[in-house]
Amino acid sequence: MTYRHLLPDEIDELLDGQVGFGVAPLEAHIQECDSCRAQIEAGRRVVDAIEHLPRLAPSPLFAERVMGKVDVYEPWHVAARDTAAGWVTRLTPRSRPMRVAAGAAGLSIAAVLSVACVWLGSHLDALFFVGTIVRARLRDTLLEQLGAAVSAIFGPQSVGALRAGGPALLFAILATIAVLIVAAGLAVRLAVAAPGRTRRSGTS
């Protein structure tokens, strides 16, 4: 037993219901000391009264009022996922036979594509040959169109200058065009496309 009155911290320890080897002597002391016991009992009455205070309810429309002022922010990837899920739901047939038919059609398409991929994989030399022809045709067409565009904008002499500049000049022009397209895309995204959707309750 402790032969002095309890200190404020010790009274708080008891009121907070703390446990440990240091608490037992304090408990023993209040069994013997009327003054400290009275303090603890009064403290416990206070704590008990506060702990029994009810939680008060706001008005029934509280949540609606809050939601009316809250902007529900939906990130773009969630919006995209929801849209995709919506399309899947919409496109999935409702009747079981139709779903089976759609599944069979999907499997057939997948099987045909798989066979085509395997066949193409076993004929790589033919693929390479065809690819070379297509690439040459595309390059010729591109240069022709570019020459026509340059000729139309800057006059026929500029086509000669372009030819004289060779692939380096062509690459520089294409790179400039690509940078301009990317910059325009970014500007449009910043100005128009918000990153996600924002809505308020009741407006969605």
Partner: protein, 202 residues
């Protein structure tokens, strides 16, 4: 995989917050449902005015939910809400000294209908009539005594004994040193004990 939105009431706060961050309106509503009473109770006991408390509690949720994407999960959601609510209440108390309103009706309520309209819904406790009467008396006395405490003592003692928060959580929530929180709670208990002595004697 089952949609987590169907199981919202059973999800922990952190998961509901993640759903709210994905823009799920139902998750926003679930967070409001969970904390509207604790937040409103804290704010009301701070400002002692129902209308103001309702506005401040609303502002608390609007501020928190509009910044839900910035919420950091290492901080407890309830602590974050209490922090915002307490700061708003303290700001309000600094702006104006508000009159006290009884739990059983506004002071200017003249008719029974007005008293009923301005009374609070008190939930959960279903004791006997005598116990209810005694509890109401001591409840009113303790409410009045809490209203007379300094605002800093008030928020500490409410969080400790109404919300059951630890000293450390209160210190974090209110941005106070741990020792200061202990001192405030000790002094608040002493002041409340003195205030209740008269009631007990009567």
């Amino acid at each position: 995989m089952p949609d987590p939105l169907f199981d919202l009431p059973n999800l922990p706060d952190a998961d509901v917050v993640v759903l709210a961050q994905q823009g799920r309106e139902a998750a926003y509503r679930e967070l409001i449902r969970r904390y509207e009473r604790p937040v409103f109770s804290l704010v009301y006991r701070m400002v002692r005015d129902r209308e103001t408390a309702e506005e401040l509690a609303q502002d608390t949720f609007v501020k928190a939910l509009n910044n839900i994407d910035r919420y950091s999960p290492e901080f407890k959601l309830s602590s974050w809400l209490f922090k915002i609510a307490n700061n708003l209440a303290i700001d309000q108390l600094r702006k104006a000294r508000l009159p006290t309103v009884s739990l059983s009706g506004a002071p200017d309520a003249a008719t029974a209908a007005e008293i009923e309209a301005t009374s609070f819904e008190v939930a959960n406790h279903e004791p006997s009539a005598l116990q209810a009467l005694e509890a109401r008396e001591i409840g009113s006395a303790i409410e009045r005594a809490i209203a007379k405490l300094r605002p800093e003592y008030r928020s500490c003692i409410i969080m400790r004994h109404v919300e059951g928060r630890s000293y450390e959580e209160i210190a974090t929530t209110l941005d106070l040193p741990l020792g200061t929180v202990k001192t405030y709670i000790h002094r608040a208990r002493n002041e409340l004990r003195t205030a209740l002595e008269g009631v007990d004697d009567g």
